[in-house]
């Protein structure tokens, strides 16, 4: 089991993830954008349109404007996800030295590792709490419950499991895994020379659940970060009004 999850499954996961995303996006490009069905605001140029799309993505502007309670769950959750995702890559790759490497004259190696640990813990907890809040919302608010399918809850539970285990490893010394162990293992995977999984049951579970998530990613609503780009590409386009002024009138502009 450790062998399969640690040495075989990761390659299957990545293949299915990348292949699946490509396949889904390819499906989206079959249909044409037949009609210019734009929605406000009507930017006048492409840069303005792209800026609006980026603003929507980074701030969750529509959620903020039209459903404030959801925004207080969804936005911190995604920010924490981004921070933790980045933290995993940088922290493991640089062994927690990312801040020292970034600002060597300001942050010492020791401070950098402390900061990395601290931020990881904080965002981990924010992530967990925000997910719990979103799950509560889905169960408690009638209008959201009626539109939810079983899979919507399962996605949240899966994320909660991943984050919960991660947080547990952070907070409980005996369960934790140090950066260099993780890096050693990941380096093995990347160089196609897989090392055995670190002897840590929580890491095993964490790693397994993440792979399950990545496996279902292309075949579920988790594809929405791609969906938002493709969707907004259709409806947020520059619009130029035809010139005013009617031909042949006595009173002209």
């Amino acid at each position: 089991m450790y062998f399969f999850v640690g040495k075989v499954l990761p390659y299957i996961t990545v293949a299915i993830l990348l292949g699946g995303i490509t396949w889904r996006v390819w499906r989206w490009t079959i249909g044409r954008i037949k009609f210019n069905i734009t929605i406000p605001p009507f930017p006048s140029s492409w840069p303005a349109a792209v800026l609006w799309i980026v603003w929507q993505i980074v701030s969750f502007w529509n959620v903020f404007k039209f459903d404030r309670p959801l925004w207080f769950g969804a936005w911190p959750m995604h920010v924490a996800l981004a921070a933790i995702g980045g933290g995993h890559v940088l922290g493991v790759y640089t062994l927690g030295m990312q801040f020292h490497l970034l600002l060597p004259w300001l942050v010492t190696e020791h401070q950098s590792e402390a900061a990395s640990n601290f931020l990881g813990t904080v965002f981990g907890i924010i992530f967990f709490v925000a997910l719990l809040y979103l799950l509560y919302r889905r169960l408690a608010i009638e209008k959201v419950r009626v539109i939810s399918a079983t899979s919507d809850y399962l996605h949240l539970l899966l994320l909660l499991a991943i984050v919960g285990i991660g947080d547990y490893m952070r907070l409980v010394k005996t369960a934790s895994l140090h950066y260099d162990e993780a890096r050693h293992f990941m380096a093995g995977l990347f160089t196609f020379n897989p090392h055995p999984l670190p002897d840590n049951f929580f890491f095993f579970l964490h790693f397994l659940f993440v792979q399950i998530m990545l496996l279902i990613f292309p075949f579920s609503k988790l594809m929405h970060p791609f969906g938002i780009l493709w969707n907004r590409w259709i409806i947020n386009r520059p619009y130029q009004q035809p010139p005013m002024g009617m031909p042949g009138t006595k009173i002209t502009l």
Binding site: G31, I37, T38, P40, F66, I147, K221
Partner: protein, 485 residues
């Protein structure tokens, strides 16, 4: 039609179905009941490959629920199927079952269902409760335009023979007489003469309506019900064109801006109107087309004309001379801002001093185009006082009649009253005593609904009057040497 009972015993309201004779006039052949589900799946397959907007609406939703509180239909009826995400889910569940990996493998888990007659009956009920106002599309964080789902749903139903009588009858008139109201040239000329006489009584001079005049520069395309209900809108436009001295005309071949094809059947009905427009433009030597007060009509012409002027309309070579298509409000504002129109808001025949007008922004004007400020510029300059409702502009709520769901059988009429609830609250809170809405469907919804919801002026008895925007402009225009009121 009385309520339809599904096989599990639930009752749903549906609009009246068109009879076979009407469907023949629309070139629709009803698919036998037992073949309908399979055929519907084939149509869905066609549309998902045809329109990217539909595919993404099917695959991009995360069920966050932002849209629920933003839909007047859900707010008014509290029917969970009227939550935009759930309404789209009626189609999405079927889509998942047939066109996605997760739906085929784990149908139950992801909420996929088989296509059955019950599903289609539900579509027919709920896709005709949606007014295609696109407020959900506007608020969706992902930018999913749920209106695209409604449209595709209606088109599939139409092709299968689920044709609502109201839209069907109007569309049949498009094929037979060229406009939804079924106006004939004799009726057009007669109505014009009547209105010219009326304006002479009011103003002291005659303003003629040119019909089918060759070598005109401007083609004015009035709105759908102007010839039956909204006399003032036609008069307002005529006064505006007279004021600016335009070489304008109205075409009896292409009479109405309204476009029921957009709402139900883009393949043939909407194309027919696009063809009629370009033919009129070519025949009458038109240089610019100005559309009247019609919300969904403007959306249809602005967004769809380009694509629909295709082989089926223009033939090989696409030889039509395309001319700019604009909206009368935009032209009015351009002239107003240039200081070329003299208006007297204090002496407005339709809005005497003491009138507080509130403006209902028609959905398609503010969410398919940015006309909110344009309307306000005209209105503030034409009437003595304005009292805004909240929210306005692109955040405004639909009147509940959008996409011509103006059914008057008791079941659907009852729903219309509920759809209007949000609007009634908005109007009441504004403290106005006169409603202005520049859209024929909105007007057709407001006329009976102000009575049903008892929206009265200050005296508590008089029902609030409803007018278009150009109505007020026409009445406020100052013609030198002629009467104002």
């Amino acid at each position: 039609m009385p309520k339809k009972v599904l096989s599990d015993g639930t009752e749903i309201s549906q609009p009246n179905r068109a009879v076979d004779r009407l469907m023949k006039r629309l070139h629709v052949r009803e698919v036998p009941d037992e073949e309908k589900p399979a055929m519907a799946v084939r149509w869905l397959d066609y549309y998902r490959k045809d329109r990217r907007s539909l595919t993404l609406a099917m695959e991009g939703c995360v069920k966050c629920g932002v849209c629920a509180e933003q839909c007047h239909a859900y707010l008014g009826t509290k029917d969970p199927n009227n939550i935009p995400a759930a309404r789209a889910d009626l189609m999405r569940r079927v889509y998942k079952r047939y066109f996605t990996v997760q739906g085929r493998l784990f149908g139950k888990l992801v909420g996929a269902v088989e296509m059955t007659m019950d599903v289609l009956e539900k579509w027919y009920s709920y896709y005709y409760q949606c007014s295609e106002c696109r407020r959900c599309g506007h608020v969706c964080p992902f930018g999913i335009d749920t209106c695209e789902v409604t449209m595709a749903g209606r088109e599939i139903l139409w092709a299968l023979g689920f044709v609502p009588e109201l839209q069907g009858a109007a569309s049949a008139m498009v094929f037979e007489r060229g406009n939804q109201g079924g106006m004939t040239q004799a009726a057009i000329v007669d109505t014009h003469e009547f209105l010219t006489d009326e304006m002479e009584e009011e103003r002291g001079f005659r303003i003629e309506f040119p019909v089918d005049k060759p070598n005109s520069d401007i083609l004015y395309v009035p709105s759908s019900a102007d010839y039956l209900l909204n006399a003032e809108t036609l008069k307002g436009a005529a006064q505006f064109f007279e004021y600016v001295g335009a070489n304008w005309t109205i075409s009896s071949y292409m009479l109405e801006a309204g476009n029921f094809g957009l709402l139900t059947d883009q393949r043939s009905v909407q194309r027919e109107l696009v063809r009629r427009l370009w033919w009129s433009v070519a025949d009458l030597g038109i240089k610019k087309v100005v559309f009247g007060e019609c919300g969904h009509g403007w959306r249809a012409w602005k967004m769809y004309t380009e694509t629909l002027t295709d082989y089926a309309v223009a033939g090989p070579g696409y030889t039509y001379t395309k001319v700019p298509l604009v909206n009368i409000h935009q032209e009015v504002v351009a002239l107003l801002k240039a200081g070329k129109l003299k208006l007297d808001p204090k002496n407005n025949r339709l809005a005497p001093v003491g009138t507080y007008v509130t403006l209902h922004d028609p959905c398609n004007y503010v969410r398919a185009d940015q006309l909110g400020d344009v309307f306000r510029y005209v209105l503030y300059n034409s009437v003595p006082a304005v009292r805004e409702m909240y929210p306005i502009k692109e955040k405004n709520f639909c009147c509940g009649g959008g996409s011509a769901i103006l059914y008057d059988d008791p079941e659907m009429y009852n729903l219309r009253i509920k759809f209007f609830q949000k609007k009634a609250d908005q109007v009441r809170a504004s403290g106005a005593n006169h409603i202005c809405t520049p859209c024929s469907i909105c007007k057709a919804q407001f006329y009976p609904m102000v009575k049903e919801h008892n929206l009265t002026t200050e005296d508590g008895k008089t029902i609030m009057p409803v007018n278009g925007l150009i109505d007020f402009l026409g009445a406020a225009l100052v013609f030198k040497g002629h009467r104002q009121i």
